[in-house]
Amino acid sequence: MTVTEQGLLERDKDTMTLNMGPQHPSTHGVFRVVLEMDGEVVLSAVPEIGYLHTGIEKSSENKRYVHVIPMTDRLDYLNPPGNNLAFCLTTEKLLQVEIPGRAQYIRVIMCELTRIASHLLWLGTHALDIGAMTVFLYAWREREMILDLNEMISGVRMMTSFIRIGGVAKDATPEWIQGTRKFIDYFPEKIDEYESLLTKNPIWMDRTQEVGVFSKEQALDWSFSGPCLRASGVDFDFRKKRPYSGYENFRFEVPVGKNGDIYDRYRCRIQEMRESREIIKQALDALPDDGYKIPDNKISLPPRNTLKTSMEALIHHFKLVSEGIKVPAGETYVPTEGPRGEVGFYIVSDGSNVPYRVKLRAPSFMASPGMCHMMTGHFIADVVGIIGSVDIVMGEVDR
């Protein structure tokens, strides 16, 4: 391998092509990357995706708006409420409805809990890839508590489908609120515990510092978003810059890194978990009491007990269940901040009860070419660390 004047790596003849994935324990799903190797050094990395192509976007065109929500859960399966929220916000923008404060706050609490759960899973698996087993077990211990809270409010551990068009599926119970409070009181010392295992750990620092460096300009050029963008020093978070679902009411910091290496991405995500906890705390303290869904019965189901006394309620119920919501013609996009970056649905409506086109802007998909570019010039052992640090989820890459 030789280095040209521009700092580019020039290929010699005797290189080796190495296949990694799709069945590889560290590719976080079924990601495949074809590496061109010169000894231990990666000369080029070419991603191949599509091993988890599910046809969700196409299937959405045959489903009513409400039926699309469970499919969005299975896109980025580490952030189901975030995907629900992105889809519902876009549909609600087309419908031009205002969501009650309580519903907005419940949505925020669920999304932030899931952000913590997603980051915990990332932390555990990323550390495991690099060789730290203990963090994996510790991080999952707290993740299980969040899944229990999910089960308490929605009945399901992961795929909640709880955020609906016009509000949320059910009201938050006092038990759930109490359980969430208990969790956020318990959680901060656990973050310190993870940090005590990793942050000053010399092996961890050697493996992560100055590895997979992306400058501010590179991160923007390769259209990174979320923690990866912020770790490179760009202070950009949709929750601050373009608030949605009541995020403007909360005080929180946006952690920004300096060097844009794996270590900074780790620090950013750890700090984000602390900030998410702050948001949940504020949302629980200021939880309004103005209903968990909009009263418009053309969009949300009427209360069950009115069905036997009110004829209109019965008609609305029947029409909603059998026909679904009719969304006015138009097209729109609402960006939201998921655990991996900008999540948003571009929805085109033709005025019927099924979407004409649903397009997902997936942060993992946008980040995967940049991630492969990041690998060039690094050792083969760092490839696993880089894949882990960008935190891709194949469900939303291939969708």
Binding site: Q23, H24, P25, Y51, K58, Y77
Partner: protein
């Protein structure tokens, strides 16, 4: 084929010869009664010992596909702890594994790779279809998803759910263990290693 398996085969063929010889003597007797004496006492007992060992040391292949893989990881983790049932040693190489948990939806593009991984696993091997998608296609009844992984590989246990909780998966593993033990020493178990 391992040492135990070859030992089992030798003993079983010996017993087979013995049975043939003795069968003439017992011709007057009810065959079933005579057969059960030899089957239950000699052949089956050794097969059961092997089956017992196999069932308590299931080594799953690390083969996460989609959402269910997250719950599979939860099952292996501290709270649910699959180690209690001897099924926590996830192997990165299929050549070291004897259980394939198909955790998630199998796309048309993934199906040949799944088959290849299955073929790479040494006999005897078992397959669990985890979740609705790998059992029957689930909510994705479309062009992209294989409508049930049993179209590609033979499935031993189906675990329903979307995704199934870790407790459901553990229940599936216990059911698989029961199946291994009940098949031990029978023709079915011998077919697997043949």
């Amino acid at each position: 084929m391992g040492l135990i398996d070859s030992a089992v085969d030798t003993v079983e063929s010996e017993i087979g010869h013995l049975k043939d010889n003795v069968k003439d003597v017992f011709d007057q007797l009810d065959y079933e009664a005579a057969g059960s004496v030899y089957d239950s006492i000699l052949t089956t007992k050794l097969g059961k010992v092997v089956g017992w060992a196999q069932k308590n040391a299931l080594w799953p292949a690390t083969f996460g596909l989609a959402c269910c893989a997250i719950e599979m990881m939860a099952m292996a983790n501290s709270r649910w702890d699959a180690a209690r049932f001897g099924a926590e040693v996830f192997r990165a190489s299929p050549r070291q594994a004897d259980l394939m948990i198909v955790s998630g939806r199998v796309s048309q593009k993934m199906a040949p790779i799944l088959k290849q991984i299955y073929d790479q696993m040494p006999d005897p091997k078992w397959v669990m279809a985890m979740g609705a998608c790998s059992s029957c296609g689930g909510i994705f009844n479309n062009y992209a998803i294989v409508q049930g992984v049993d179209r590609v590989v033979p499935v031993d246990v189906y675990v329903p759910g979307c995704p199934p909780g870790p407790e459901a998966l553990l229940y599936g593993i216990i059911k698989l263990q029961e199946k291994i033990l009940s098949e031990a020493g029978t023709g079915k178990a011998r077919e697997k290693i043949a």
